[in-house]
């Protein structure tokens, strides 16, 4: 019996009348391979409105397990921004989800290459003239690099990684702690040095199931967002996620750099007692065979603040016109 291609194609999209958006699966080539993504559009975009929504957004996914844990928040962000009047592209980067290539291909270069291609793809969507980028944690770092390199007009960074060396140290530590609690059969704690030795000698390390390549380790360890931002002068939103209402020093330094380059910057903080787990595992098993998403509220607040910033700064239909104060 033949495959009903027409039926499958017809169901590659859906409309959400209540939210006022439609979503379409796409299978573009991003970076070095094909992958699966979703374009969310305000329902108006389905009409031949030409230049009606000239600003599109691309969501840059995060690294390793963060890609998984932040994925659902990014879906919420895409839908909220789209409901506010803008098309949004989200995608699985190479090494993740439905992408063509394996985990060992995921490094800083691949993340940036995926995001650049995604920006080019969004720029080709009918009616889109300019593209803004956004991302959380490592995805925020990638969004910053791509916005800077591509002279993009808008970026929103949620608790972005500033110093890659610290990020990699923390990442390796997750494996060390994992071994310490005796859940690995590796014969005890290998320690940070053993992991680094494995990366150097074998070319990769198994970090709680993620194949961290030597290239990823070296590239990410060597990146510092403060030093890499050189010319961005568009509008940016830097959102911290903190246990207190204070903006972290690293993020403050980033906003200072952005202002020095002539961009206009808005900063804000989402205060949450689980802030230190942002981007990490966020489900808790509870009595009665229940599993609760303990960062559900945090993700909603992040989404709400990013969508509100976009609503304040940009008039749908004309990215050169900022919303009235």
């Amino acid at each position: 019996m033949a495959i009903d291609e027409a039926m499958l194609e017809r169901h590659s999209r859906h409309r959400d009348e209540a939210l006022g958006i439609s979503e379409t699966f796409v299978q573009p080539r991003l970076g070095s391979g094909t992958t699966v993504g979703v374009v969310s559009r305000p329902l108006g975009m389905a009409q031949p409105l030409g230049m009606a929504q000239p600003l599109g957004w691309v969501i840059c996914p995060s690294f390793a397990m963060e890609q998984i844990h932040l994925g659902r928040m990014e879906v919420g962000l895409a839908r909220a921004i789209s409901a506010a009047g803008f098309p949004v592209l989200r995608y699985h980067g190479q090494g993740y989800g439905d992408s063509e290539l394996g985990m060992r291909h995921a490094d800083l270069s691949s993340h940036v290459a995926d995001a650049r291609d995604a920006v080019a793809l969004m720029a080709g969507v009918e009616g889109v003239e300019q593209v803004g980028v956004l991302g959380a944690r490592f995805g925020g770092l990638v969004a910053g690099l791509v916005a800077d390199d591509g002279d993009l007009p808008f970026m929103a960074l949620v608790e972005p990684v500033i110093r890659g060396a610290q990020y990699m140290r923390d990442f390796l530590r997750t494996q060390v702690f994992f071994d310490l609690v005796g859940t690995s059969d590796n014969g005890g704690s290998p320690g940070m040095e053993k992991l680094r030795d494995a990366i150097a000698s074998r070319g990769w390390a198994d970090i709680r199931g993620f194949k961290l390549s030597a290239q990823a380790y070296e590239e990410i360890s060597g990146v510092n967002l403060l030093e890499r931002m050189r010319r961005f002068h568009g509008s940016s939103f830097v959102l911290g996620v903190s246990r207190t209402d204070r903006f972290a020093p690293g993020l403050q330094a980033l906003t200072d750099v952005l202002r020095q380059m002539g961009g206009d910057v808005e900063q804000d903080v989402v205060q949450d007692r689980l802030a230190s787990n942002f981007g990490q595992h966020h489900h808790r098993n509870e009595a009665g065979n229940k599993k609760t998403d303990i960062q559900f509220g945090l993700y909603q607040e992040v989404t709400s603040k990013v969508a509100a910033w976009i609503g304040r700064r940009i008039v749908p239909g004309d990215p050169t016109r900022e919303a009235p104060a």
Binding site: E9, H11, F25, G95, D98, G102, K290
Partner: protein, 286 residues
Amino acid sequence: MRNYPVFVPHGTDHIAAVITVPDEEPRGLVLLLTGGSAARSHRFKVWTRTARRLADEHALASVRMDYRGTGDSTGSLRQWRMSEMPVDQALAVLSFARRGLGVDRVAVAGNCMGSRVALAVAAEVPECIGAICIRSPILGPSNMSKALEKAGRLGVISWIRSNAYLRRMLVQRFAGRKKTTSDVRRPVLRALSHSHLLFLYSEQDFTFNEQVERELNGLAARLPAAERSRYELRVLAGQHLKGFESLDIQRRVIESVVEWMGARFASPSGRQASVERPPVTAAEPG
């Protein structure tokens, strides 16, 4: 091999899924289900990698899905409850994929909570010829455990725990005592009437112990020989399967699923490959 990402209508929601199809005509369809909160490709692309191997090595199509409120599906989900398993969503996606591909014979594999959904699907669908339940939590609390849990909510448990004698007498004796519930027994027996069933654990899984082995083997032992022969329990040596948190575990799980599914669909009827041996625990050499 081709991929068809789709949104499957389900009530007022749309369930996101990716159907992977081999280059040749598919010999069958495998539904791949994640645990409670993971997206369709599962952690570390485990289901994406499985789907590609099923297509390339066995000409099998597969469909992997995001439950409502996860991945790219619509809706929101703050809390998962074992008592509200999304069996209807899985059946909707399976039915959609079968129509889209024009295949009759199906099988299903699920991990953790998804294994319970897989079991229910296997019981429900007569054309299902095989189901793999990975790291399946099959034991429910006993009545005494439930009473202790209720007491815990009232603060009684902390008082009991503070007393060494009471702790020994009550908590250690009864709190861990669990048994299979009818939620497990019924679908196991029903599924085995027409489908093969593989329970896959690691020896370190907290969802697996001697009692689990006893309960499962005991269930199968009550069946006629033909049905009993469709049951298999496989225990992998080494690290637990939870979260697929090592490359080696991922490889072994994928290998097990691909090999077992390939055997199920090896003959036109799907019956030839039945495991003609008594239910045993076979620990894989390390």
